[in-house]
């Protein structure tokens, strides 16, 4: 437990509730949509996951930072969350790979963290009232004006902000080796692990900015397209959906998470906001074709409305907790997508086979 008398932290929710705790990481004020994740490990991967851009992340497991931070567990180049909320931030981590405490790690990444509060009560609040804007302030000295912090929280309209723009690469990036099949990755905020899994399967990856036109994508002559995960409301990404639609039938397409939602929009489907999202490493997903149940890693605040899907798309996966859609495929074309994260990190490796499936489609096409 961090000691009293050092940095302090305050968390103000848009519903007016205020939580006081200990501060760590950077001293600053941050605003975001407050969400929770139930994974008991994998905090560094989550912190650096671009899908969390614009979201204050709360971990439900109370001891965070036990194995410190390391140079391997990055899902992007920086910490993406505006602020981090935990019950306890471990001061004395123990792991062979650890090179920093959580405090140091967030400090270096200019991100505030707050600890020592009743995180479970906040989770219960979000569960009942839904995710909501919040403001975290880490400070030393006098407590800042809470009315001001509340105003900041209330000023945030998460669903109106295009976080993808910030999360995506600005310039193309290349991975892999010559001679391999080539995948165009439409980067809406892709996790590094997606690229790693593709490269591991001897697929070259061209990472393209989110707003690349279909023409510029096709100009790379890819053998397959992967539309990545990413932050924010998919409804804001009409242009990407349009681009995706233009690529239908030209090569195999694989959508992950936000990519899945974009594909739904591409064919006129709808998405809706979940009350508190799915964020964790323990979500059971049923394969509607085989009946098999897989434990998946998830991180999404919006879901595809299965009923809005046109006939050419078949729902393939179902979340057994709340029975929302978790995947679909095109009836004829080699297009499929999942709402969860087969690339894991954090979370179970049980769905890595989807990358093999994608590779097979690419090779067969």
């Amino acid at each position: 437990m961090l000691e009293a008398g050092k940095k302090k932290g305050i968390l103000v929710l848009s519903d007016g509730s205020i939580f006081r705790g200990l501060g760590f990481g950077a001293e600053k004020v941050s605003v975001g949509e407050l969400v929770f994740n139930t994974s008991m490990m994998g905090y560094q991967e989550a912190l650096t996951d671009p899908s969390y851009a614009g979201q204050i992340l709360l971990m439900t497991y109370p001891l965070i930072g036990n194995y410190g931070a390391n140079k391997g567990d990055f899902e992007s180049k920086k910490v993406q969350v505006p602020a981090f909320v935990v019950r306890e931030a471990c001061e004395l981590p123990s792991h062979k790979d650890s090179n920093a405490t959580l405090d140091e790690f967030l400090g270096r990444n200019n991100t505030p963290g707050i600890a020592g509060l009743d995180t479970r009560s906040i989770v219960r609040r979000i569960r009942e009232r839904g995710v909501m804007p919040a403001c975290v302030c880490v400070y030393s000295g006098n407590e800042p004006d809470t009315a001001g912090l509340l105003a900041k929280a209330n000023a945030l309209d998460y669903s109106k902000i295009n976080f993808v723009e910030q999360a995506s690469v600005k310039k193309e990036e290349e991975y892999g080796a010559p001679g391999w099949k080539k995948i165009a990755l439409i980067d809406c905020g892709a996790k590094q692990s997606i690229i790693r899994e593709l490269v591991k399967r001897e697929l070259s990856v061209t990472v393209l900015p989110w707003n690349s036109s279909s023409m510029s994508i096709l100009s790379h002559d890819p053998d397959g397209v992967l539309i990545s995960n990413g932050p924010g409301d998919p409804a804001l990404l009409g242009n990407v959906a349009k681009t995706a639609k233009e690529l239908f039938g030209k090569m195999p397409i694989f959508g992950i998470c936000l990519g899945h939602q974009i594909l739904a929009h591409a064919v006129g489907g709808k998405t809706f906001k979940l009350r508190f999202g799915h964020r964790g490493s323990n979500h059971p997903v049923k394969d509607l074709e085989t009946g098999a149940v897989t434990i998946t890693s998830q991180n999404h605040g919006y879901a595809v409305d299965e009923k809005s899907l046109p006939k050419e798309f078949v729902p393939t996966k179902l979340n057994l907790n709340d029975r929302t859609n978790e995947g679909m495929k095109h009836r004829e074309l080699p297009i499929f997508s999942v709402q969860y994260h087969p690339e894991a990190n954090p979370g179970p490796l049980d769905s890595l086979g989807l990358f093999d499936e994608f590779k097979r489609l690419v090779e067969e096409y």
């Binding site: 490990m41 019950r87 004395l92 509060l117 479970r120 569960r127 979500h283 009946g291 057994l320 179970p348």
Partner: protein, 1074 residues
């Protein structure tokens, strides 16, 4: 895959008596399985020899057979009941071994019985060390190099090409019996010899050592459609080299990164798939946290103690789900019984930390070797839940019920002796946790401790944090009482009021009052399997010091039942049985039942056993906190053994309403001086006795009473520190070595009644009358602790007149103690005179057994009386029920697991569990009870007699009887002389008389039974000790009292003359009073 419809009737195998390595967890999993099967409309037939289980209650199965867990008995049950399926994976190693034996003997095939769930192939692939190694190799999972040796020569050959030390694990044994670490050839030789004997199939695995690596466990579940989930992962505080049952364990793992975790989790899934397990299993890994390399240690293809822990730690009912899988369901077709809205096919997310600590029996077994290793020695365990590791650890220590209010050092040991402290850290005993704390106090660096112990520094640093907090509390002193911030920090670090009071030199209640004045009270959080992601209905709570209290009290009539804490010698599953029945009875009466307990193995801590469960230490502070949160109509303290009874005083002082017998009555029964006066007033005979507050008083009292005398400290569990003393010198030694005598802690001295018959009653009084459920006569003479004696109901030899006297005395004493609820009264009968030994106005160890034997729900009656009903209203019989059959209870001892201990019965209890035999006469019932207790006696063969001088007069008659039964008799010198020409006898040498001797004969397998009665008094190493350990270690039936020998003779006679009856329990109990 929906439920199979071809399975209409299933045989469930129970796990038998509680032994070290196999405790209440199998009552828990077995009962949950029975319930899950019956929910599906399947007819359940149960066989289990342990009467002290909820599983053997009439409501748990359609037919309950309390019979020996032996293939020949199970065969008869199968023949009679014709089940289509069998489940053997809910009963530990016993269940697995029996399943394999039934298959190997062709019994399953003969009657077309299918093994449901995890099949025979999976069991043998996981259990057979050779097959297991092949399987791992096939799927590329790393194993240590090892060899499955069937001979010493093979082992030595392997040792030549590998480096010491080696770890030994015999195949098909439970709790690591016969396992160990061999550091050199000599140790290897002796461990292999022993291991081969202990293994059911004469096979021992010898493997390279991973001493000091981290140990991690995964609880995994798989259904028939290959869906796999992990329920929980756990990290052992103690690294490899110490059996996981002997380790402090944290859940979830604390020091694994997600990458580490997913590596092990994926390996676990590969293992369960390759083994084709259908149900639950436990997979253990060793992880070198310096290199990241891991090794698969073993797979338990069944429910285990770890799975019980995982169930309680996560709220996920593993046994229930495994039973449904056995019926053909897939995971997604089974409900999450906790949330009721999500399926069982998910992985629990915890938002708290769980710490488990084993409970060792060394307080009762002072001679046992206390080093911890690969063989289990602990009898039970506690679990605690907190939102910080510090909190969970300290709550767990408090739950152990070892007079520690948290992580603190007791005065018994010199904690300032650095060398000694560090040696315990390096060569661990049960004291290692405290030694680490002591070392930290001396300023030893965390790295040094980690280096010596192999314990991950993360854990040691957490202990350092606790020490830091202790320092802060000490510096603050009285100021703490008004420092809200610091007080809150202390509570969040798990410090109890009592611990704080000790540090700052105030009284516990002063700290409590000050704390409450500061507004610092615990909040209760729910264990919901999902980290609050979904609304759950489970009323399963733990305390912590945070803002939101989720345990909002209900406005209805409610009663709190205090549990009995960890299983230990003297306070076993029997008390959990009583607590559960109290809870069930409350619920049935429409009263909200609220349980407080901390034992993760038991049914009382199952999330649906009570209307509400608080998983908390049973210390005054924690109990009062729950009471203040709930405002119950009353608290039941009479069923949780000494643990709950000891809380009565504090509760009473805090104005809590105790249901049933009041503190006054409890105290009158416990305070020997008051009790003596009471018996004098009532003119009820008692052994002459006295109380001594110093050695002079003790010597004087013993002189007046006449030796031999029974001496003991007051207020103890199960005769702790109790001893029979034959002369002054021995008494002096006892007083100076065994107990601390003082004004507050007097020593009780009773006349030891030689050659007296001991008996006891269990009953219920309502203030108007006492209902006696039965008079139980002990087989052994008075002087053997009632918990260690075999006993029979109805009485074997007591004349009617004596029984009438017992009934009369019982009624009068119950009335005088103003007993309301349960009571147990113990008597000794010497030359026709009935002496009252003690009265316990509470639930007793024998109540489950007597309830089973008579079919009368004693605890249910008692609980309803506590709620204000009269015995007449409840329809309790007016007379002692007459049984036209006989039920014998026998016991099992832990000696085999505890090297260094002698196998001598005395006033201090040593047994861990009990069995019951039931039939239409004593002989057959005793035969079954002994068989169930693991005494595999023969009905003919070679018997050796070596009797203590005092027992020599019995030599001739015993020899005559054995001779008549066709036994060949051997005897040591003196005993042979005493036999004289009563029977043909061959003289055999004692160990000290050179070769060939009796021990040699045992080792050579030339003896089938040994009757050795120990010389009186507490002696060090003797010939007798050697004979007894040799019998034990060579698996030869050993009888240590004349009465037991007579009982065995009666049993063998009965076995030879009449067929054993094989009927379900209601066949017997339906005949009561007819």
């Amino acid at each position: 895959m929906p439920k199979r419809n071809d399975i209409k009737k299933v045989l469930v195998i129970g796990s038998g008596p509680i032994v070290i390595g196999q405790a209440a967890e199998f009552d828990y999993s077995g009962s949950q399985a029975c319930k899950a099967l019956r929910e599906e409309g399947v007819e359940v037939v149960l066989i289990n020899s342990n009467p002290a289980t909820i599983q053997t209650d009439s409501g748990m199965a359609d037919k309950v057979y309390i019979e020996p867990l032996k293939p020949e008995f199970i065969r008869k049950v199968i023949e009679k009941e014709r089940p289509q399926g069998l489940i053997g994976t809910m009963a530990g190693q016993t269940g697995l071994n029996l399943t394999m034996q039934l298959a190997e003997r062709g019994i399953l095939k003969e009657f077309g019985v299918e093994v449901l769930g995890t099949g025979l192939d999976a069991i043998s692939a996981a259990e057979d060390r050779g097959k297991f190694a092949d399987l791992c190799k096939r799927i590329g999972e790393p194993l240590l190099d090892s060899i499955a040796a069937t001979s010493v020569e093979q082992a030595l050959e392997f040792a030549k090409s590998h480096d010491y030390p080696f770890v030994l694990r015999p195949a098909y044994t439970l709790g690591g019996t016969g396992g160990g670490i061999a550091r050199n050839e000599e140790e290897l030789r002796s461990l292999v010899e022993f291991g081969l004997r202990m293994s059911e199939i004469g096979q021992t695995l010898i493997e390279e050592s991973v001493l000091g690596w981290g140990e991690f466990e995964y609880e995994v579940m798989r259904d028939g459609k290959d869906n796999c989930i992990t329920i929980c992962n756990m990290e052992n505080f103690d690294p490899m080299g110490i059996h996981t049952g002997e380790s402090i364990v944290a859940a979830p793992s604390q020091t694994l990164s997600d990458n580490d975790h997913q590596m092990l989790r994926s390996a676990a899934l590969r293992m369960i798939r390759a083994l084709n397990i259908k149900g639950g299993c436990n997979i253990q890994f060793a992880l070198n946290q310096k290199t990241g390399k891991y090794i698969v240690i073993e797979v338990n293809p069944r429910l285990s103690r770890s799975s019980a822990l995982a169930s309680k730690a996560t709220g996920y009912p593993i046994a229930r789900v495994a039973a449904k899988i056995a019926l053909g369901y897939t995971l997604d077709e089974i409900d999450n019984a906790v949330t009721k809205t999500t399926p069982a096919s998910f992985e629990p997310a915890l938002d708290y930390i769980v710490v488990k600590i084993p409970r060792w029996p060394f307080d009762k077994m002072p001679d046992a070797v206390k080093y911890l290793g690969t063989q289990m020695k602990s009898t039970g365990e506690v679990m605690a839940i907190g939102r910080t590791f510090e909190e969970a650890l300290q709550k767990a220590v408090r739950s152990l019920d070892i007079k520690k209010a948290g992580l603190e050092l007791d005065a018994k040991f010199d904690w300032k002796d650095r060398d000694k402290v560090l040696s315990i850290i390096k060569e661990p005993t049960d004291q290692r946790l405290y030694a680490i704390y002591a070392a930290l106090k001396m300023g030893t660096a965390c790295e040094e401790i980690a280096g010596l112990s192999g314990i991950n520094p993360w854990f040691i640093r957490k202990m350092e944090k606790i020490l830091e907090m202790e320092g802060k509390i000490g510096i603050a002193g009285e100021r703490l009482l008004s420092d809200k911030q610091l007080m809150l920090e202390a509570k969040r670090s798990g410090f109890s009021d009592r611990q704080i009071a000790r540090i700052i030199g105030r009284k516990e209640m002063e700290v409590r009052d000050a704390r409450k004045k500061l507004g610092i009270i615990p909040a209760y959080k729910m264990v919901d399997t999902c980290a609050a992601e979904f609304a759950a209905k489970t009323p399963y709570y733990y305390s912590t010091y945070e803002a939101e209290n989720e345990a909002v009290p209900e406005k209805r009539r409610k009663v709190i039942v205090l549990g009995s804490g960890p299983i230990r010698i003297g306070q076993g599953i029997e008390f959990d049985y009583c607590c559960c029945h109290a809870s069930f009875a409350l619920r049935a009466a429409g009263v909200q039942s609220i349980m407080i307990n901390n034992n993760p193995e038991t049914i009382s801590t199952d999330f649906d056993a009570s209307d509400r469960l608080y998983f908390e230490p049973l210390a005054l502070e924690d109990v009062l906190n729950v009471i203040e949160n709930e405002s119950p109509d009353g608290v039941i303290v009479q069923f949780g053994g000494q643990t709950s009874i000891n809380l009565a005083k504090g509760l009473h002082e805090n104005g809590v309403r105790i249901l049933g017998t009041q503190l006054e009555g409890i105290d009158m029964a416990e305070d020997r001086e008051r009790f003596r006066k009471l018996l004098n007033e009532l003119k009820i005979p008692q052994p002459r006795n006295g109380t001594a507050r110093n050695i002079e008083e003790a010597l004087k009292a013993a002189e007046e009473i006449h030796y031999p005398v029974v001496v003991r400290p007051s207020y103890v569990i199960a005769g702790r520190g109790m001893q029979i003393v034959y002369d002054e010198a021995e008494l002096k030694r006892y007083i100076s070595e065994a107990v601390d005598v003082s004004e507050e802690k007097p020593v009780l001295i009773d006349k030891y009644l030689e050659n007296a018959i001991e008996c006891e009653i269990d009953g219920v009084s309502d203030g108007k009358r006492l209902f006696i459920a039965g008079i139980m006569e002990h087989v052994e003479k008075a002087g053997v602790h009632s918990g260690d004696a075999s006993c029979a109901v109805p009485p074997i030899t007591l004349p009617e007149k004596t029984q009438k006297t017992i009934i009369d005395y019982s009624g009068r004493i119950a009335k005088s103690l103003e007993n309301i609820g349960a009571i147990n009264i113990q008597f000794a009968v010497q030359d026709g005179t009935v002496y009252l030994l003690e009265a316990n106005p509470r639930g007793s160890r024998s109540m489950p057994y007597l309830s089973k034997a008579t079919g009368i729900p004693i605890v249910k009656l008692a609980t309803n009386v506590l709620l204000g009903k009269t015995l007449d209203e409840l329809g309790a019989p007016k007379e002692v029920p007459q049984l036209p059959y006989c039920a014998v209870k026998s016991v099992v001892f832990p000696f085999i697991k505890l090297p260094g201990t002698d196998i001598v019965l005395g006033p201090e209890m040593k047994s861990t569990g009990e069995s019951m035999g039931i039939d239409f006469d004593f002989g057959r019932a005793y035969y079954k009870a002994m068989l169930s207790a693991g005494v595999n006696f023969y009905t003919k063969g070679r018997v050796a007699l070596t009797l203590a001088p005092g027992d020599k007069p019995h030599a001739a008659s015993l020899a005559r009887e054995f001779d008549a039964l066709g036994f060949e008799i051997f005897a040591t010198d003196g005993t042979a002389a005493a036999i004289g020409d009563a029977a043909p006898v061959a003289v055999v040498k004692k160990l000290s008389e050179g070769d060939p001797n009796i021990v040699g004969m045992m080792k050579a397998g030339e003896l089938d039974m040994v009757v050795n009665t120990p010389t009186k008094g507490k002696l060090a190493f003797t010939d007798g000790f050697g004979i007894r350990r040799a019998a034990l270690e060579n698996g030869i039936p050993l009888i240590t009292t004349i009465e037991a020998a007579k009982g065995i003779i009666a049993a063998i006679k009965a076995r030879k003359t009449a067929e054993l009856t094989l009927e379900p329990m209601n066949y017997y109990t339906g005949r009561v009073g007819k």
